[in-house]
Symmetry: C2
Subunit: 358 residues, 2 copies
């Protein structure tokens, strides 16, 4: 899936060196070893897949959370099984990645024994990209889903203020001739930083992406202070489903009562909730047959006649697979803002920075 040449002009670095640095920063910040490894792997894999918004750029924010008291670096994250196929994880305000992966691994274990597994996580923090967890199920020939609530950012129809977060929905399933299908999408139309980027380039945004501080729809990126749901009221409904699983089911705060990632202080605990499921494919049909059938479906979609011959028809996950191939070969692009964060962390923690890709 590699393009044959690097995708950007940004300076690139050997992917493994970047991983080692991220892990070292977490370990040097007194993060418990298993949590440090799982979190480093999650941030790094997400950047490798090209999802820069949820990748290594979050490292400094996470460390600030540890220093401020929001994130418990030595959390005692515990799983409690509540039936043959359900369970709860108390994240003890530790890293969301660590709590989420413990939850998914238990969901997979229950699915192996009883067909399916569902685990809700309470008292958690930001857990990065949901794909990290759902892909773990797909690797085990299962269908995985992953959900989390998030900072209040989404306006509902006819309201004036932010309510739900970007509350993503993620599902992964294995295919026979390539990495898993993986849909991982916010229930807002776009992320706020996409709108900010268009503003920086002097572009207006389409109708239906954002609203101003009074709740009015706007096409002016600078005026946007809240996001609009995908498909209008439909996306708001999907965001509510996500919060029913993540906030209501877990006993955590819901909607506009969720602690904000950036607006609130780094000392304030977030009490986020996540929800994970794993379903054994071979409880429905032979896994190899499923993977062939999903591969055939994916190929059929990609082979559809195109409006623009030069633009591929894609399925969810295609651009992430292309990024992963590209970044494994040519190194991970890291922009100046993130490099500057990393240099600061290296100095503070007495760590060596990695060098650029030769």
């Amino acid at each position: 899936m590699g393009s044959g040449k690097p995708h950007s002009e940004i300076q690139r670095f050997p992917a493994e060196d970047v991983y080692n640095f991220v892990e070292a920063v977490l370990l040097k910040s007194e993060v418990e070893e298993q949590a440090a490894k799982v979190t480093a792997r999650g941030l790094w894999q997400t950047s490798l897949r090209g999802v820069d918004s949820h990748g290594i750029r979050l490292l400094l924010h996470y460390i600030q959370g540890v220093r401020g008291g929001r994130v418990n670096p030595q959390a005692h994250i515990q799983f409690e099984k509540t039936s043959a196929t359900t369970g709860r994880v108390d994240a003890d305000h530790g890293f969301g990645h660590a709590a989420g992966m413990l939850a998914m691994k238990n969901a997979i274990e229950m699915a192996r024994e009883s067909g399916s597994g569902q685990v809700a996580v309470a008292n958690s923090n930001h857990c990065g990209s949901m794909a990290y967890f759902a892909l773990e199920a797909a690797k085990n020939d299962m269908i995985g889903t992953a959900y989390t609530n998030a900072s209040p950012n989404m306006r509902s129809a006819n309201a004036t203020t932010r309510f739900f977060g970007t509350n993503p929905i993620c599902m992964a399933a294995p295919m026979s001739r390539e990495g898993p299908f993986c849909y991982d999408g916010a229930t807002t139309m776009v992320a706020l930083n996409k709108i900010r980027n268009m503003g920086d380039q002097g572009q207006d945004i389409p109708n239906g992406w954002g609203a101003d501080s009074k709740g009015k729809d706007t096409t002016d990126p600078a005026a946007v202070s809240q996001l609009l749901p995908m498909g209008d009221y439909k996306g708001f409904g999907l965001a509510m489903i996500v919060d029913i699983l993540c906030g209501v089911m877990t006993g955590m705060p819901t909607g506009d009562q969720v602690t904000d990632m950036f607006r609130d202080s780094n000392s304030e605990k977030r009490h986020l909730g996540h929800f994970f499921t794993a379903t054994r494919i071979d409880a429905f049909q032979e896994a190899s047959q499923f993977k062939d059938r999903l591969q055939e479906l994916a190929d059929r979609i990609r082979q559809q006649p195109r409006q623009d011959e030069d633009t591929p028809v894609m399925i969810p996950g295609d651009s992430e697979k292309a990024s992963e191939a590209d970044r494994k070969e040519f190194g991970m692009p890291i922009n100046e803002a993130i490099l500057s964060d990393f240099r600061k962390l290296a100095e503070e923690l007495d760590l060596e920075m990695f060098g650029s890709q030769s």
Copy 2:
């Protein structure tokens, strides 16, 4: 939730009389008794909830399917348990409502025993509104989800032709002081008949709803021959998730290979797939606490400041609850086109038509 006066000028009929007529038409058409009752109840409840597109207007189409050979009125619909929490239903080309309800009832039973249940349905037909099934789980203090694939109608980004159907996503969950929360939405932006209705009224449609026969986006309702996904490529991804559960997992046709509801002949079997899940709430927290918490969340959403003071801020299912209260009190509105279908059926089957609401 009733408005205090009827919502429309269309002639109204006592809801129970309408139910009895729909059931009688199915029974007189040699439909097996249990299937007839479950199907009649599903169509009728859906109309009562104001979702006219998926209610009793489908009766004639269903009977034509029986007469044409598409729908097996004496289907031997069978459930096979494949693990503690998973199972398959072979619908034997019978009514989708009957196959779906058998699947959901088994999912609920497995959830009662083991925390959760998931059932895939193969060789099925149109099953009406997905809410009918998900609400059954909510009635049992469970979270229910329901999915189905559908006639090819949705264009993906940069393609020229229809691929997935409206592939709906549905989730229901119980609340403490009113009927269940219920989101039941197509993954297209709108349904085709909404576009046709706007055309009839001389209105243009917004960008992002439909495309013409060449796949180009259009705002002219008359030019629309395919639907666009909600939230652009995001809705296409969600539709693919639905088809992975309903088409790939069941071994049924997927995407553009699904038999079309109307374009294909009534003799052609549809081989539709559905997927249902039930999850016991008390495996995560006390059900009464969950219901209170969801009620509080719903109330908080509805009490948000409004842009337009006269327009409520709603949650999924609010308009359906209002319709149900209204139609129970003032009778079910049935338009002339449907009345004419019903008169024809009454004559052919030697049945008495119901009279209008006094």
